[in-house]
Amino acid sequence: MSSSSASNSSLPNRWIIAIAAFCMQLALGSVYAWSVFLKPVASLYYHVPAAQLGAAQLKPTNITFSVVLVALGITAGFGGYLNNRFGPRVMATAAGILYGLGVILAAFAAPNLIVLYLTFGIIGGIGIGLGYIVALAMLIKWFPERRGFITGLAVAGFGGGAFITGLVAAALLKSVGVGSTFLYLGIAYLVIIVAVAQVFRTAPDGYAPAGWTPTARQQSDRSVREYTLPEALRLPRWYVLWLILALNVTAGAALISVASPLAQNFTGVDALTAAIMVSVISIFNGIGRLFWGWLSDAIGRPFTFLSLFIIQVIAFALLPSITSFALLLVPAAIIALCYGGGFGTMPAFAADFFGPKNAGTIYVQAGLWGRS
């Protein structure tokens, strides 16, 4: 498919930009595999065998991840303004350098946890915040006719990164230890992100692919005005979007956080069998980001979230009455699909209601606080 409008054939291929952004999201999303590092890092810093670790060691170590999330959220808050000023190539390059450097420096932080907070947490978190906002903001402008699908793809990439890194990091931690794992992964993140960032470009103002005109539904769901973050925060609709996302996250996170014990409690299976439900939830969480994002382009964002909520009403109401493990997987998978769907669709919802220019920043604020 051609990405260039008929009047300007010098535009880059937007699908190459989308693939590059997806690769960057895979690298950035690796931070969500933090739980794989938790015990080995705590064990290294406190000189306690992994089997004997308790809250006294795990809690301070896990603060690293909280520091990442805070740094990510704060950076993404003003990252949109920097992106508008410097452009996605410069911003993503900076993101790759900072994230990679943060993880590389973490390799030399032991045994000082404060240094780990500063390197992996703050430097790395700033890098992720810059990169995350760039991918969403850039892709929304390049794909005005597929906002849902493309933001779903970007968010799915973030989730996919955690899945891949979880496997790679677990193997590396076992074979080369904590320090070398941070070092190798940090170099890989830096190289990958800086390389793919070089194809990033901002879409021209008002860009539309050749031959595309918005459908009546698309026009009916899209704001005719561009809002900045401060302006959006003064509108009741921003708080309604935040509430929608918060409710969807609350519902999905409730099930995800107790998937294994809940399955054991309801169906009497052992922990090993219950782990199957955890895997099923992870897979459908990822699929939901793409599926609902794609569907929202056809039925509109308001009806997508209406559907997400109604489907989950049925799934949550049925869950407690199920005593068969195989049957329990069905509503669990549906809830996970809807949970991922909320993340995949909300950036496009924000772009529809506040305009694409600052949608990335506006969504990240709703997304960040909606998760809390």
Binding site: R237, I244, A251, A253, P261, P302, L306, Q312, V313, P320
Partner: protein, 57 residues
């Protein structure tokens, strides 16, 4: 909120998962109209204009 809610019922080691699941179902039911409320708010302000197919707009 979700992880806290789901573990907030029951006594001792016996956690009651059913009650919070029903609470979530009710919460989602009463909130189902929120996406349409958001759209109505945007339309009321004039940011989103109703367009019907075939109007050429």
């Amino acid at each position: 909120m979700g992880p806290i809610l789901i573990t907030s019922f029951g006594a001792g080691k016996s956690i009651d998962y059913a009650t919070p699941l029903y609470i979530i179902a009710v919460l989602m039911l009463v909130s189902a109209a929120l996406p349409l409320v958001a759209r109505a708010l945007a339309r009321r302000r004039g940011d989103i204009i109703e367009v019907t197919a075939g109007t050429g707009q």
